[in-house]
């Protein structure tokens, strides 16, 4: 068995294989349902219905997709430049932290507070990734290690703050921050529907990243650096500076997930604000093949699986961790599909 490269994959191969991957994921889902003793087709139907069957379900999915769009974008921007940012989780919490501090401590009026909170969050997230990227460009320290480990440092730092200086005095002992005042919270897009402006901001960010990558010199520099840093450097692209700029954008985007969760949904900061949105962002970005608009689609898909599996679990008694397994299989099949668009397996 040997792999022969395919120089120009046909559209059928490029679109058909990912569709096949999706189909295989569905088959695995049905198999798992069968193992759990439930009716496979019904289980599948319940997941879809739970994710998008009712207005409430759909809004829940959109809400869940919002932070995933931000972290997915953060990861895709960085990965494009071959900057392996595994630390979106830490950047998210940094953004959430600054959002809460500005929102609760400064007592600014709403129209001023929200932009300042967002800006502060972006800066905080950017700064959190700046350290690892400087270590990488100056000293050659592997950013996978530094960004990953910063996640744990940040989690412990947040725990400390929530037990100490940032603890809500009215919180009956729970480790949580004081709540944001009413006008420091993101309003809902349509009154009465549980969907806040964070979602719109996420869509806008995706569009922004897409324009950045395809239309600007910085986007060109980022792509060139990621595809062939040596050729980029030879052509006069300041690779180190490009990586730093990429890091600032990536960290900022991840921090917006924290801002949007706190200001749009939760209203305060707790240690369990993110159930791993930063890590799931990697899956989202990979499923989207790092395309910024694809990130929106894949974030909706991933959010739908989580929300749908939650609801299905209540109805059919199949455990919710089927969602994690589905996500993992979807990613594996997608990676395989991507490989098979690039190479052909030949016998001999």
């Amino acid at each position: 068995m040997r792999l022969d490269p395919i120089t120009s994959p046909s559209p059928a191969r490029r679109l058909g294989l990912p569709a096949l991957a999706l189909g295989a994921t569905v088959l695995v889902a049905m198999g798992l349902a069968l193992v759990a003793g439930a009716e496979p087709l019904a289980t599948l139907g319940l997941i879809v219905k739970g994710a998008a069957g009712t207005k409430f379900a759909l809004l829940e999915t959109l809400n869940r997709a919002t932070p995933l769009i931000f972290t997915g974008l953060a990861v895709s921007v960085a990965f494009r430049a071959r900057l392996w940012n595994i630390g979106a989780e830490a950047q998210l919490y940094a953004g959430a932290l600054v959002t809460v501090v500005i929102g609760t401590q400064l007592g600014l009026p709403g129209p001023l507070a929200l932009p300042l909170m967002a800006l502060g969050a972006v800066l905080a997230g950017a700064l959190v990734l700046l350290g690892p990227v400087l270590l990488k460009t100056r000293l050659g320290v592997d950013e996978v290690v530094t960004t990953l480990l910063l996640n744990f440092i940040m989690a412990l730092f947040i725990s400390y703050l929530l037990e100490g200086p940032l603890k809500d005095p009215m919180g009956m002992g729970w480790p949580k921050s004081p709540a944001l005042p009413k006008d420091a919270r993101l309003p809902r897009i349509i009154e009465g529907l549980r969907l806040h402006w964070g979602f719109a901001l996420a869509l806008l960010s995706a569009l922004g990243v897409w324009v950045l990558q395809t239309r600007t010199t910085l986007g060109y520099e980022i792509r060139a650096t990621g595809l062939n840093a040596e050729a980029a450097r030879f052509a006069g692209i300041p690779v180190g500076r490009v990586l730093i700029k990429t890091a600032l954008i990536s960290g900022g985007l991840a921090a917006l997930a924290g801002f949007s969760e706190v200001a749009g949904l939760k209203g305060n900061l707790t240690a369990d604000l993110s159930p791993g949105f930063g890590y799931t962002g990697i899956v989202v970005a990979m499923l989207a093949l790092l395309h910024p608009l694809g990130v929106v689609v894949s974030a909706l898909f991933v959010a739908g699986i989580f929300v749908g599996a939650d609801s299905m679990s209540r109805a059919a008694g199949v455990p919710t961790y089927i969602a994690d397994i589905l996500l993992a299989t979807a990613l594996l099949f997608m990676v395989l599909a991507i490989l098979l668009t690039k190479v052909r397996v030949v016998r001999g």
Binding site: Y220, L227, R233, A235, G236
Partner: protein, 512 residues
């Protein structure tokens, strides 16, 4: 050694070898035989199918059709060990030696039994010494390979094959890394080998070597065997024509009219990086309207000099002057701003970005300036026009400007790089191995464009490991050896053999 006179018995026979990669037919029904005690040259351009054929012989690929027979026995397909065991030895272009081990250890590697380390070393040593004496392969068995020159390493590779009792030796472009003197020594070894009844396949695209060493020439073109001639009955023009399919006239540059010095290096040194040689106190002047050719065995500081002029490297000592002004800040961008056009050595790794389109690659060195970009926004239609201009003016064969450049052949890729460089109308052109790996048609095209740029007043620095190329194109020749430069030799003032002395570091400073 008296039985070796039956020179006609066949030791290797390939019959109807066909190999397809998708729609590409790499080898098309190739048949030939190799007799005992002869040197057969396998001649062909890059991509003609020479390497594929040898890979089939060695079991790295399985032929779609056809058979290989060694000493009358059919060779099982797809087993790399089978050819070795049958007595076929190959010396690759890129050596496969362990640098941290001695010559003897390298030769024995893989031949010793798993248990009983060091047993029979003395006998092995005697055999290696005898082989090296019989075949004129002077190399010390206890020297560490890392300390050997390229020519010596090649001798170790040949010894390795002989030690394993190879009766058929295959040499893949063996002279690419040698000085003329080392090549002559290698040819002597090959003559001794055939005198002892060995058979040799000599793969090359250098016609004069083929003429010098072989008794028979096989010419491959586009995967087909297009010619089989006795060396005594042919000449270089005929072989060139067979190889390319049309008649070739090499470029003949007119007299240069050198002008002002555009770039001057004053006792410049650069640090050695890893096992790459740095420059040591180099003085160099590049003049308008002149091609300066830099000859030398690869790895003697050419890379450092190219990086320095490209802007990737800065001097650790000495200074650089651009048109009389000393350079203070130096980078690839500064080099481009100083109108230095750079044709890099490796078009895949540094010259292009494989997954970028032709358009994106065509503007790689001016993506940030008008008309391609304004205030950080790229105007893709302007970029596309620039690409189309290069494609048209430099005859880049491609499906269109939106094709990813990885799909282009090396020659077309190089034409795009050449166009990118020349369209910017550079004052100084650095051409580092500009024709390596190109077919003869593309070679002539690139060389003629460089001469035209010279005639338009550019200062050209041509770096090449191919002495013929340097001698054909250069108005002045200098030789680099261990990071130092020889004096300038005007066109025609030195023979290849004399330059070879300099390449080997035995030049006499007062001979200039």
């Amino acid at each position: 050694m008296t039985e070796t006179k039956e020179a006609q018995d066949v030791v290797l026979r390939l019959s109807g070898i066909t190999k397809r990669f998708g729609v590409l037919v790499a080898n098309d029904a190739i048949s030939f035989s190799l007799a005992r005690g002869e040197v057969v040259a396998l001649l062909g351009e890059n991509g003609a199918g020479k390497t594929t054929l040898m890979n089939i012989l060695f079991g790295h690929y399985t032929a779609d059709e056809g058979t290989v027979e060694v000493f009358g026995q059919p060779l099982p397909a797809g087993l790399p060990g089978a050819a070795l065991a049958a007595g076929v030895g190959m010396v690759h272009q890129h050596f496969t030696l362990a640098g941290n081990m001695t010559v003897l250890e390298n030769i024995l590697l893989g031949t010793e039994p798993l248990w009983g380390v060091g047993r029979g070393r003395a006998a092995a040593r005697r055999r290696v010494l005898a082989l090296s004496r019989d075949f004129g392969l002077a190399v010390h068995p206890d020297a560490r390979v890392a300390t050997l020159s390229v020519g010596e390493r090649q001798r170790v590779e040949i010894l390795k094959a002989l030690y394993r009792e190879a009766r058929i030796l295959i040499l893949d472009e063996p002279t690419a890394v040698l000085t003329p003197q080392e090549s002559a020594a290698l040819f002597d070894t090959l003559r001794r080998a055939v005198a002892q009844g060995l058979s040799v396949i000599f793969i090359s695209h250098k016609l004069h070597e083929v003429m010098a060493v072989s008794s028979r020439v096989l010419v491959l073109r586009h995967g087909r065997l297009v010619g089989e001639v006795a060396t005594a009955e042919t000449d270089r023009p005929q072989l060139a024509e067979l190889m390319v399919g049309t008649e070739i006239t090499p470029p003949a540059p007119t007299e240069a009219r050198p002008g002002a010095t555009l770039l001057k290096l004053k006792t410049v040194s650069t640090p050695a990086r890893g096992n790459r040689t740095g420059l040591r106190g180099v003085d160099l002047e590049l003049r308008a309207g002149q091609i300066l050719g830099l000859a030398g065995v690869s790895g003697n500081g050419q890379g450092a000099l190219a990086d320095l002029i490209s802007g990737l490297e800065t001097p650790s000592a000495g200074s650089m002057e651009l048109a009389g002004t000393e350079i203070s800040h130096w980078s690839p961008r500064a080099a481009l701003a100083a109108r230095i056009g750079r044709i890099p050595e490796d078009r895949h790794r540094t010259g292009t970005i494989a997954d970028f389109t032709l358009t994106e690659n065509a503007v790689l060195e001016r993506y940030a300036e008008p008309p391609v970009a304004r205030r950080g926004w790229i105007d893709w239609s302007a970029a596309r026009r620039a690409a189309e201009q290069v494609i048209k003016a430099y005859d880049v064969r491609c499906p269109g400007p939106e094709t990813r450049i990885r799909l282009l052949s090396g020659g077309n890729m190089q034409k795009l790089i050449l166009g990118r460089v020349l369209e910017a109308q550079p004052m100084i052109i650095l051409a580092n191995q500009p024709v390596r790996g190109l077919d003869i048609g593309a070679v002539t095209y690139v060389q003629e464009r460089l001469i035209a740029a010279r005639d338009a007043g550019a200062a050209v620095l041509l770096i090449s490991e191919d002495l013929d190329e340097v001698l054909t194109l250069s108005d002045v020749v200098r030789v680099i050896c261990e990071g130092r430069l020889s004096p300038e030799f005007p066109r025609g003032s030195k023979t290849p053999a004399e330059l070879g002395q300099w390449m080997a570091g035995q030049g006499v400073p007062d001979a200039a």
